[in-house]
Subunit: 211 residues, 2 copies
């Protein structure tokens, strides 16, 4: 899984890869309206979630009341993997758009791991990738400069051609994800475009050849 809007391809964590049909059948679907909470920090854990449609974000609220986006999951990705091993959620899950999710009960999923080593291993791999991605995220957060942080994001999320990025949310959302004020992001993008480093067209950004 991943944390950056455009990087689904980097570590898309489809349930298909490891969760047997037997479990997927018992899953319950649930729909959420934009802004609705799937679960809240401190609530008892139910199980694993898969986003079927829409987008769900994992967030925490720091003491100053600011929302910190930990992760943004799109269709095919799973949510709250860590909750399988803990009794309570440790962050909030909120629908960013109208969304549909599937719930795989904790009990059933854990049972699968007992019986099916392949599934367990695939799940481990998934978590391991998540760890890597979170570390990348921390690396990003260490960058003070807004322009460097944006560049870091853009290069990391460039498409197959290495130059094109498709934003899937609003720029304001992206700002939150990058840990910048939205004004700072607007200004930075404007400056990068003005300097010719990038080109913008709607929700598409293109990097110019070599910096």
């Amino acid at each position: 899984m991943m944390e950056t809007i455009g990087s689904d391809r980097i570590a898309a964590m489809s349930v298909d890869n490891w969760l047997p049909l037997t479990v997927r059948i018992v899953a319950i679907e649930r729909t959420l309206k934009a802004g609705e909470a799937l679960f809240r920090r401190g609530a008892k854990t139910e199980g694993l979630f898969e986003v079927v449609a829409g987008r769900v974000r994992l967030t925490r609220v720091d003491r100053s009341g600011r929302e910190v986006v930990l992760h943004l999951a799109g269709p095919g990705e799973t949510l709250a993997e860590a909750s399988l091993f803990s009794a309570q959620y440790h962050c909030d899950a909120i629908a960013s758009t109208n969304a549909t999710v599937r719930v795989y009960p904790k009990r059933e999923v854990l049972a699968v791991f007992e019986e099916n080593p392949k599934a367990a291993q695939a799940f481990s791999a998934t978590l391991a990738h998540q760890v890597m991605n979170l570390r990348t995220r921390i690396e990003q957060r260490n960058i003070r400069s807004a322009s460097e942080r944006v560049r870091h994001f853009l290069t990391l999320n460039a498409g197959d051609d290495g130059r094109t990025i498709n934003l899937s949310g609003t720029l304001k959302d992206l700002a939150a994800e990058l840990g910048l004020s939205h004004e700072a992001l607007y200004r930075t993008l404007a400056a990068l475009e003005h300097s010719g480093e990038i080109k913008r067209k709607g929700s598409k950004i293109t990097l110019s050849k070599r910096v």
Copy 2:
């Protein structure tokens, strides 16, 4: 595992919990001098590492040449779990002090997971905790204020009494870990002490009752 110097107890990830003796026996020990690299980003992955003595840090170097500390592992903790599922390391591992590590070959560890669901699950749980801790770390990085960031760290790493923190490295290391310049950290600690919020005594910090 964890990322903060004093929080070993929060998610100490001892190998003893899940890795069978059969594997632990084939492990190879290796010693490192302070500053020596255990592995470098891009190198072929060997397996899982356990820190026996000393401290090893996981880092990346950003484009400005600054070192970003992703993780600091102490005795009993494991390193590079994600490398089990990838061909190359994605960050550098460097000994912060003279250190001894044990190497558990990838092949053997993965074999254990095939045969022993309990081990696989314990490993997953370990990774899941790591994910949680990394998220906490991201939350921390979102805090702009140096004093708030330090408070966040202190409360998160307070000992059993909830008021005492034992620093295990230098303040300079801590600054890097917190993503602050060492000057800023010194000043902040001095200010907190001056205001009576904390007391310092060598490498020990005590929080005053309630803020």
